[in-house]
């Protein structure tokens, strides 16, 4: 067990270094833009004096290294500055919008694993026969279009032509929900408001699916590839000799060893959904961090841009860390041996 913790600590350390690197990168990019941030912030009617004052305040006349120093100091205090878009602290904006995006991405992640994995297992088990071909084709189609295309198609089919699901938003305006976690699906349950829960569920299904299509395809293809490799291993032939049913072999004996190489990629895919959330949130008017992020980018709202990218990267790193932890727990070789992984 201690080995796992040591592994975790080492990964955490590296992740922190990387995160600092990310902050430097994004800071550098943001400061390189043409145009004067202070002028943009104050608008076209600002006087020269106002602009000069703001420039002083924002340390814009200092060297970029000094600016970064101030930025880092603020960051450690938990301050990300004020957003020019909402005129609120960036941290407040993030706290408001992040849960919506997380809820969407997690729901999509559950769909990805819950649908993609069984499809991949079935595909490997019936290898060479028609279920395999159908699943492979569908999976490939799934990864062949960006999320917004699927979002549009799903919206057309299931919100317009077959009006099963609502078109936009997270929940109908008529509901008043007390905010506990920011996750509507939890908050509605916590307050016992089941019709609100149902409504929130109906609202999240289409966007989550649109986000998940590509991930489902990837997960299915990856699982299939790994399981096919596992099926050729001697211990599977042994399992057949022991007379275990094909179903048991597929779902237990072949599945568990196959999952270990898949987990890394699935973790990456899940995290990539964080990026794709931008697109789906745009189509479905989902009030999440990504929509906020696009808005602030279009307005060149530096503080908000930096804050958003930093948070998303941090989440990405955390997800990868969790995945690595799961791999370490699942793979007995890592648990008991000396070797860590890079």
């Amino acid at each position: 067990m201690f080995l796992v913790l040591r592994l975790l600590a080492r990964r955490l350390g590296i992740s922190l270094i990387v995160l600092v690197g990310v902050s430097m990168l994004i800071f550098g990019i943001a400061r390189v833009i043409p145009g004067d941030p202070a002028r943009i912030a104050l608008g076209p009617n600002a006087t020269v004096e106002q602009v000069t004052n703001l420039r002083e305040e924002l340390h814009l006349n200092d060297s970029i290294v000094v600016q970064y120093g101030y930025f880092l100091a603020d960051l450690l205090k938990g301050e990300l500055g004020i957003s020019l878009y909402t005129n609120r602290p960036v941290t407040t904006d993030i706290a408001q919008f992040l849960p919506a995006t997380l809820e969407l991405v997690i729901f999509a992640g559950i769909l990805m694993v819950g649908i993609g994995l069984p499809l991949g297992i079935a595909s490997a088990r019936y290898r060479g026969r028609w279920p395999d071909h159908v699943i492979r084709l569908v999976s490939l189609l799934g990864v062949s279009a960006p999320s917004f295309v699927w979002a549009v198609i799903l919206m057309l089919l299931f919100a317009f032509y077959l009006p099963i699901f609502p078109i936009a938003g997270r929940i109908a305006d008529t509901y008043e929900i007390t905010r506990v976690t920011g996750f509507l699906l939890f908050d509605t349950l916590l307050s016992g408001n089941f019709s609100a829960f149902g409504d929130a569920l109906r609202h999240i299904i289409l966007p989550a699916f649109a986000l998940a299509v590509s991930g489902i395809g990837q997960a299915a293809r990856l699982t299939r590839a790994n399981m096919v490799e596992t099926y050729d291993k001697p211990y599977i032939e042994m399992a057949h000799a022991f007379g275990f049913s094909a179903r048991r072999i597929a779902n237990k004996f072949a599945f568990k060893p196959s999952m270990i190489p898949s987990l890394t990629i699935i973790g990456l895919d899940f995290a990539a959904m964080l990026g794709n959330a931008f697109l789906v949130e745009a189509v479905f008017a989902w009030p999440g961090l990504s929509r906020y992020g696009v808005a602030v980018i279009l307005r060149k709202d530096l503080n908000a841009i930096i804050g958003t990218v930093l948070i998303i990267s941090a989440t990405f790193l955390i997800v990868n860390l969790i995945v690595d932890l799961m791999i370490a727990l699942l793979n007995p070789r890592i648990r008991y041996s000396q070797r860590g992984s890079t």
Partner: protein, 277 residues
Amino acid sequence: MKRMIIILLRNPLSLLGVILVSLVVLAAIFADFIAPFPDHRGAIVDFLHFNQGPTSRNYMGTDLVGRDLFSRIIYAFRISLILGVVVLAIATPVGTFVGLFAGYLGGKVEFILMRLTDVFLSIPPLVLAIAMMGVLEPTLMNAMLAVTVMWWPWYARLVYNIARSEREEGYVLAAEVIGASNIHIALREILPNCLPAIITKMTLDMGFVIIIASSLSFLGLGVQPPTPDLGSMVAEGARYLPDSWWLTVFPGLAILIAVFGFNLIGDALREILGADQ
């Protein structure tokens, strides 16, 4: 090489991929001759025929100012393909060299280069591109720059993994013993062993670059109107769902078909070349 092409053409799925990609590429190259309304790629208006669904005159309908959608889609293919080729032409060599030298030389070089790569890889792909485009002017050039910057780390990581395991192999030791220089070993000995994986990835990446690029322009961060681009066409059309459905559906399907074709070929190549990651 010739055998590879024959195998590609034998398998029905990869054959479909080759057909689809050929159609897209040919359409892009010969757009001026194939498009029924070549000048519709620019700022033309034709209010006599605006906002119409698919007809025999306009196979895919017309947009809100009367431009033929089919013609615009064909020109949009051109943009997408150019973007893909340029991005890969730059990102692949850069990433490959970074990964090659990090993997072979090891030590401090490895640590610095791979941490650098990690920094780029730790930002979800689209987010970095979006952030860059946010601070740059939205043009085709800048879009290509943003996507390239985001792309090279993947090749670096791929080649790094291969180089790292290959450097223990016998032929590398043999070359070192003879006294070959590091550059020679990296380029002439290890690199050829990375090529199958690189080529497979490039083919699959063509599709992926198209997806990323169209995502950028969907958000308004790519090429600007009136230049036709598949992503921005979907974005514009999305506002008019469900009535003028052809405005979003056809460009969306165009993306799907192009990427699907590249993916089919890439999959087949992966099986043929047996490249592992």
